[in-house]
Structure formats: structure tokens, C-alpha cells
Symmetry: C2
Subunit: 202 residues, 2 copies
């Protein structure tokens, strides 16, 4: 199933076609595809090239590892993401290894890596549904995380199910129109809250 963004001006199909499904087909994700997704994450930009992103990932072919990731999601996310063929957690190194100071860009840079992963996924016909709904304390305990590692997100990865194969209780979410605020509401120019000059050239 595809659900391209109703963009106001053309953007690259790998960006327009990205969306977050709630239902996936039964098809497995090939190990080689999953490797490529994390290779894409690997080459993201980061502050001082510190690459603060960390991932925990499992395919359903590894039931123990998969169930362990699944157990870290909040109940609603567990209910649908457990049907995805691959799951991951997104974590970050909060301190700069060099001097132990806080890396203020670490959460942002995990986002850069996760977005790169998602572009590679879209290119391979896969969909990624990212979640902020995890139980951080559960992740910390289950994986005995070092103190300077923070769990932040989860990712469900698979092939988006067509609407007719989507469980009834998720069908409205799967079909929901994609909406965003317009550019003048978040791209400002010389003064906060006033649209950037180049928006008016539109």
C-alpha cells in the first residue's frame, strides 16, 4: 500500500512515499535489506562526527531477540508492531566520549540516522513506522544499559499491508489522510513568526 504525501510542490518520491503504516504483510525482511538500512544510518551526519546513535534490532526469525524488543513498547504499540517482521530500538550516547561533556545534539543526530535508514527502506519498498511510545525503564533494565545511554524510539520495519488486509481496528489509522502545517507556519525569516522572504516568491 502507498500513501504519497499531498505535497504543495514536488519533492523526491523517496520522501513523498515515506509514511508510517500500522499494518504489515507477512513477508519477511531479508537480512541483506536490514543490513543496508543500518548502513544508510551509519553514513548520516553528526555533530563532531560522534555518531551517537545506537540501535537494538531483531527480525521475527530470532524470536527471543524480537520478543525482547517488543516487550519494551507501550501496550498500544505492542498490539500492532508485534506483527511487523522486524523491530528496532533507537538509543543514543548522551556524553561526548572525548571529554565526557553532554552531547546536546545526540537526540537530533539519532533522528538524522533514523531518517537515512527510512530513505533506504523506502527505496527497497519497505516502510518504517517510528514510535516515541517505549517504556524507557524497561529498555534500561532488559538490556542492562550503561548510564550514559538513553533509549528514545522504536522502529517497526516491514512491507505496508493493503487496506483490505489491515485489521478492522487499525483500518482508520492506516487510511488516515496525511496532513501537515503549511510552510509559513514554521519557516521564518528576519523575525520570529513571520514567514521567510523566499516563501512569498511562491
Amino acid at each position: 500500500m502507498k500513501k504519497p504525501a499531498p505535497a504543495d510542490r514536488p519533492i523526491h518520491p523517496l520522501l513523498a512515499d515515506r509514511w508510517s503504516p500500522y499494518a504489515f504483510t507477512n513477508e519477511s525482511v531479508a537480512g541483506s535489506d536490514l543490513l543496508a538500512l543500518f548502513e544508510a544510518a551509519r553514513w548520516a551526519a553528526s555533530s563532531y562526527n560522534e555518531q551517537p546513535w545506537r540501535f537494538i534490532a531483531a527480525r521475527r526469525e530470532e524470536p527471543d531477540a524480537f520478543e525482547k524488543v517488543l516487550s519494551c513498547l507501550v501496550p498500544f504499540n505492542r498490539s500492532w508492531a508485534g506483527h511487523a517482521p522486524a523491530l528496532a530500538l533507537g538509543l543514543l550516547q548522551t556524553l561526548r566520549p572525548g571529554d565526557g561533556s553532554p552531547n546536546r545534539a545526540a537526540e537530533h543526530d539519532l533522528g538524522l540516522a533514523a531518517a537515512s535508514l527510512t530513505v533506504e527502506a523506502t527505496h527497497r519498498g519497505l516502510s518504517v513506522h517510528q514510535m516515541s511510545g517505549i517504556v524507557a525503564d524497561r529498555v534500561r533494565e532488559a538490556y542492562d544499559l550503561p548510564d550514559d545511554v538513553l533509549p528514545l524510539t522504536a522502529l517497526a520495519i516491514g512491507y505496508a499491508a493493503p487496506l483490505e488486509d489491515t485489521p478492522e481496528d487499525l483500518r482508520e489509522r492506516q487510511a488516515r489522510p496525511r496532513e501537515r502545517r503549511p510552510l509559513p507556519a514554521f519557516v521564518f525569516g528576519e523575525r520570529w513568526g513571520e514567514p521567510a522572504a523566499f516563501l512569498e516568491a511562491d
Copy 2:
């Protein structure tokens, strides 16, 4: 100038070709291109679709707005980014508008939007150099930011200069080989620090 990632396995060229130049050609960025970059950011994913990203952006054709952004960078970044044809600041709404609670994913989601912007830029032959080196208090004062808005990053946008046109003091940085830690160092499986099972299938 191009500097593709020496990836261990193929990733999409829009990801491999992304890099962060320190020198740009004199060519301006068309307003229509800049619009498309922010349209790409607009369609990123975000926690509860709250789209917490905000941007302040200017082309050098708007000297007052451009200088204002430039004045918010730390001195080293001012020295090279001032030659880029377009500059932006990345900010975020720290609270969820619905209930005023902290949006723990806001910095991460600004990263998702910035990465989408960068993919669209690469597609258009543009390069984006993101920076964490900004003077947050200066941004807050210059733009009279609301208390619940946090400035986090800056972005220099333009066409990467060839090495021979790069100022001598930046040439080593412009040419520096691209390096990343290997996948087993950050993609773990059932236990923290132990590589994910699918990495071994490689």
C-alpha cells in the same frame, strides 16, 4: 565537488553522496529550490504528528536576514558558513501544544526533518552542512523567541566548491576522508554491546 561515502554495502546515492562541505561556489540558491527543501522537511515523520521543527532561513539576497542568522553561529562556523548562499537555524517546540507536556521526541524529530531537507538538497545538487555550533542565547535574544522554543542547529546550504577553489585554511577539512564506526559497534541484538544476529549473515 563530490565525496561519496565509502560504504561497505550499496546504499542509495542520495544518501552516499550527502556530505558536509566547508566551502561553496558563488552560485545562488534559487528560491524555488529552497522552498522544495523545506517542503521536504515538512513531510517528515514526528511523534503524534506534532511537527515540532521550526526554521529561520535566509538567502544572501536578503542581507539583513542573512547577517542575523550568521551572527548566531560560533566564530569558527561564522568564518566559513558566511560564504554559503543560504543559511538556516533549526529550532524546536519543546512542549506538546495539546497538554503542555514536554515533547521528549522534539529534538529527534527536528533531526528527521533536517535529514529529509538534506535528501531533497542532494537530489538538487545542493549540499547542506549542519552545525551544532550556535550561540543559543544570541538566537533567543535576536529573535525574541518564546520560552518553549529551543534553538539547536544551523544549516549552511549551497553548491560544494571544488577543492582547488577552497580557501587554503579549509582545504584539509574539505578533503578529509569520510569515516564511520562499523555496524557491529552500534547495531546490537539480544544483549547490549553484542552485534545483531543478522549482521553475522553478512
